[in-house]
């Protein structure tokens, strides 16, 4: 399959995602320039981590107006896979492709370290190879990753089962101590109602190879590939 990785000015994990898609998974990968208005032949669009437009004003606020985002929105509306990691999640939230907002970490500082997240459902393309309840160790690296939505919004998310990853401890318990940024309901990643758009703060692209001491993030990418292959088989 083919991954399209959006390069905003200030993206800095674009090469990391490219490396995973192309050299770790062995699939195709291409960069999509933010000033382009169209793209073709892409099966999954990734909005990578970084500091698009410096994250000045608010993380993701300016990037959402990049010309490419209209095409990304259209792609998502057609059911295409759109995957926002970290800054990518922030852009998706600002763009309204995902509900809520990401605000400054409760501790006010940037935090880079491993956290544990629990997969809350398996029936999304991003978790198709991950059993519900599985605990994954994945690094985070962000200063504005505290998930916020008004109470009604949170309820709706839960009702529609849109919370895909929650911060937890090593054994899978959601505790205050295991929440690195104060996210409401320990939300680490959510999808849209249809399930084709996912945003998450942790970085599976930073832990997809044994040489880095942790390959658990690869399971998310493997899930994407698996789901895509399933879907293609159905189409045929």
């Amino acid at each position: 399959m083919k991954f399209g990785i959006v390069v905003f000015p200030g993206s800095n994990c674009d090469h990391d995602v490219y490396h995973v898609a192309k050299h770790v998974l062995g699939h195709e990968a291409a960069f999509l320039w933010h000033k382009d208005t169209t793209f073709a032949g892409v099966d999954c669009v990734v909005l990578p981590g970084g500091f698009a437009h410096g994250d000045y004003l608010r993380a993701g606020a300016i990037a959402r107006f990049s010309p490419i985002m209209k095409a990304v929105e259209a792609f998502a509306a057609r059911g295409g896979l759109v995957f926002g990691i970290c800054n990518g999640f922030q852009v998706l939230a600002e763009a309204g492709l995902l509900p809520g907002a990401l605000v400054k970490n409760a501790g006010l500082k940037y935090v880079c370290r491993d956290v544990y997240v629990r997969a809350e459902r398996q029936d999304t393309p991003y978790t198709s190879r991950i059993k519900q309840g599985t605990v994954l160790r994945i690094p985070i690296g962000h200063g504005e990753g505290c998930y916020y939505a008004p109470e009604e919004g949170l309820q709706e998310l839960e009702e529609k089962r849109q919370v895909v990853f929650r911060y937890c401890d090593e054994s899978g318990q959601v505790t205050t101590g295991s929440n690195p940024n104060g996210s409401l309901r320990a939300i680490a990643g959510i999808c849209n109602a249809r399930g084709n758009v996912l945003g998450m703060m942790p970085h599976p692209d930073r832990c997809a190879e044994e040489v880095l001491g942790n390959a658990q993030g690869r399971r998310i990418f493997d899930s994407i590939v698996y789901a895509w292959e399933q879907a293609r088989r159905q189409r045929i």
């Binding site: 200030g10 800095n12 990391d16 500091f51 940037y110 690296g141 970085h203």
Partner: protein, 742 residues
């Protein structure tokens, strides 16, 4: 109206009377105001190295793999397969004291530009920090600001900060140290230099617009002592813009991708446009004509003097060719950056500057750089030095409770975990970090190859204070030892020499001795100097810092899978000490922390033995005999053993240790010495390990076994330490945040 130039004005610019005469002589006339500005910054201590140059020559700068030694924006070392590592370290001490966040941030910005100017993509950074005591009212504020500044810039631009050091000592109360290191990777044929060759070639200015910020910033701030009068120099601190730098980085690397597009390139750092034009012309033996009306300006009404001396950040100067000029402009336009042709290369050997049709400066490039003043300043051993060496051990009360002492040390400000700091740094972006901060050296893999690089930065300034030559040797030895413990051998060294006022003979003496020590150790340990930085005038109201020659070293691993870490791995593994067990109280952290004493002569390093130890560690790693290796430095043997137990990112594990100790308990447990490494190995490896050690003439002592939930140490038959690992680890991890919270 610009003031007319007089000798007094020159003095106010920081030139001495003799230097001013020399400038007049070089020009053959009285300088214009703009020219005076140019001479004053180019001949400042910061830009000209006038007090240090004669001594820096003594550093070994030759090596088999060295492609580019000192003199360019950064050093270059070949690492095989046509790939080069490009690295350098810089100080940003004074600006960081005045405005910690922006000072540190722009320090990072500056060192990154030094790297990508060479055509290399920065892939990892380090930082070495020194702050005053916690009792000093500014310390906590400065720590918070500096760390956030480094994070703010480095994280945003996407270069991981993979290691560093941070120490606290009252000698830094009024003069903190912020040293930043960065390393980049390039294909050898894409290395670019800061030369303006080819008369007729266009000179292109790219990046941020020029404002009034930082006029006389780095150059003057860093070239004089710090006192109440510095208040007036305050607005010279700049605000960094990491986003623009990220664009500049991408644009520069894109134009340098195809050979021949860029003839020469240099960042505008200290002394801005002046320094880059003059240096580029001087290196090539050419000249330049610059039209200041073409320089993109951020503010109105700027004078030629201001434009020439502005230290606005995130700017580059490039020389292209008439054919490639368009290509350069296209690439910068793609990244939404200003790029404008501001002049031409000439063959006159002079830099001539025009403003509104008038010539405002006409200076000889060569004379400004190569005929800059050079001083062999008087040096003299301080009168107090001898007294420091005396350490009467008999007046120091030995410890009674080894466990309590170890707990006190491990939660002390200088020995507790640095996690609180390095988790604020993105140390994983670019997904190359194989060994994260928290081990002796960080290791980063190079994608698409099997190889990896190890990085470390070290300096024990207390040793340097007690004995500058030995202290410097020890710093180099420790850096190399840290690399060996990661399984790597040294490729090259860069230094940042932080000292007091060079006009004081005692400071000059410290400086000279330190250079001697570095030269010695780098030679024997085969770690040539590829570049570095000198920061003098780290003095406030007459009080200087401990001499702090920070050493950063880059190591090479043929196979990333051979990377070692410092922590114990497996129950049942045996624990060995490679090296002599005896440590010394002289200059130890223990002595300072628990007895408030900084005295004695630090245990000297025998460099040949040190080298043999490093070779041995690498050899036993290569043959798979050891699974961990840890340098035994501050805090002595007992603290190093505790670190082996508690620093693993995963679960901690205890150990049972038996030391055949005689003598003072504090010396056995907390005495310090170089040339010691703790390794752990599976039991079946014992015979071969010992055999290899004997063959290398390195002492080897079986100390105990990994396992359990406690660290127990028996010395001379008595149980002297018995510590439960889990709470010890929690306390060690939480300590720094606690100290900083107040």
């Amino acid at each position: 109206m610009e003031p007319s130039v007089t000798r007094d004005l020159a003095l106010a610019h920081g030139l001495t009377a003799e230097e001013y005469d020399r400038a007049v002589q070089a020009l053959g006339r009285t300088p214009t105001y703009a020219e005076l500005g140019i001479f004053s910054v180019m001949w400042s201590e910061h830009c000209s190295y006038k007090s240090s140059r004669v001594h820096l020559k003594k550093l070994p700068t030759e090596g088999r793999r060295l492609i580019q030694g000192p003199g360019e924006n950064a050093g270059v070392v070949a690492i095989g397969d046509g790939i080069a590592a490009v690295f350098k370290m810089e100080s940003h001490n004074h600006p960081s004291y005045v405005e910690p966040y922006q000072g540190a941030a722009t320090g990072v910005g500056g060192i990154l530009r030094d790297i990508f100017t060479m055509g290399a993509r920065p892939i990892a950074s380090l930082n070495s920090l020194r702050f005053g005591s916690l009792e000093h009212p500014r310390t906590r504020y400065l720590v918070g600001g500096v760390v956030s500044g480094i994070a703010g810039y480095g994280n945003s631009i996407g270069v991981p900060t993979v290691g560093g050091e941070i120490y606290f000592h009252p000698s830094y109360n009024g003069n903190i140290l912020v040293n930043v290191f960065s390393l980049g990777i390039a294909r050898l044929e894409k290395i670019h230099k800061g030369t303006a060759s080819g008369p007729g070639n266009p000179v292109i200015y790219a990046g941020s617009k020029t404002g009034r910020d930082g006029i006389h910033g780095a150059s003057l701030l860093a070239s004089s002592e710090f006192d109440a009068a510095s208040e007036s120099k305050r607005p010279t601190v700049q605000v960094g813009d990491p986003f623009t730098e990220k664009l500049l980085l991408e644009a520069c690397l894109e134009v340098m991708k195809s050979p021949g597009v860029v003839v020469g390139i240099q960042d505008m750092g200290a002394a801005g446009l002046t320094c880059s034009t003059v240096e580029m012309a001087a290196r090539a033996g050419t000249g330049m004509e610059i039209d200041l009306d073409k320089v993109p300006l951020r503010e109105e009404g700027m004078t030629p003097y201001e434009i020439l001396l502005s230290e606005s950040q995130e700017r580059m100067l490039l020389v292209a060719t008439p054919q490639t000029e368009r290509r350069v402009r296209e690439v910068f336009a793609k990244w939404d950056l200003d790029a404008s042709v501001v002049g031409r290369v000439t063959d006159t050997g002079r830099v001539r500057v025009f403003f509104k049709g008038h010539q405002v400066a006409d200076v000889p490039a060569h004379a400004l750089v190569d005929d800059a003043p050079r001083y062999r300043r008087p040096s003299a051993r301080p009168s107090w030095q001898e007294a420091l060496a005396n350490l009467d051990r008999d007046v120091i009360k030995d410890i009674e409770d080894g466990t309590k002492t170890l707990q006190a040390l491990s939660t002390s400000l200088n020995l507790c975990s640095r996690e609180e700091v390095y988790t604020e740094y993105d140390h994983m972006v670019r997904s190359n970090t194989v060994v994260r901060p928290g081990s002796d050296a960080a290791v980063i893999r190079l994608k698409g190859t099997k190889v990896a690089l190890a990085l470390t930065v070290d300096c024990n300034a207390r040793y340097c204070y007690l004995d500058p030559a030995e202290g410097a040797r020890l710093a180099v030895a420790e850096a190399a030892r840290n690399l060996a413990c990661a399984g790597a051998w040294p490729l090259g060294t860069t230094d940042c020499l932080n000292f007091g006022n060079p006009e004081k003979p005692e400071v000059m003496w410290q400086f000279e001795r330190a250079i001697e020590g570095i030269a010695d150790a780098c030679r024997v340990l085969d770690a040539p100097i590829v570049g570095g930085n000198v920061s003098f005038y780290n003095e406030t109201e007459g009080k200087g810092i401990h001499p702090t020659p920070t050493i950063a070293m880059v190591g090479f691993l043929e196979d990333v899978k051979g990377a070692l870490t410092q922590w114990f791995r497996k129950e049942g593994d045996l624990v060995f000490l490679l090296g002599e067990p005896a440590g010394s109280l002289a200059g130890s952290e223990y002595l300072a922390l628990l007895h408030g004493l900084e005295a004695g002569r630090p245990q000297p390093v025998d460099l040949a033995r040190e080298k043999a130890l490093h070779d041995l560690v690498r050899a036993v790693r290569d043959s798979g005999l050891v699974v961990s290796a840890h340098d035994c430095s501050e805090g002595g043997l007992a603290f190093a053993l505790l670190e082996c137990c508690i620093t693993a990112p995963g679960a901690a594990v205890g150990a049972g240790i038996n030391l055949e100790g005689k003598g003072r308990l504090d010396e056995i447990l907390f005495g310090e010495a170089p040339t010691r490494v703790i390794v752990s190995a599976p039991p079946e490896a014992r015979a071969r390990l010992e055999q290899k050690a004997h063959a290398a003439s390195v002492p080897v002592h079986l100390m105990g076994t990994v396992g359990g939930s406690r660290l127990t140490v028996v010395a001379g038959g008595d149980r002297v330490i018995d510590l439960e690992i889990a709470p010890a680890r929690a306390a060690w991890r939480a300590a720094l945040a606690g100290h900083l919270k107040s």
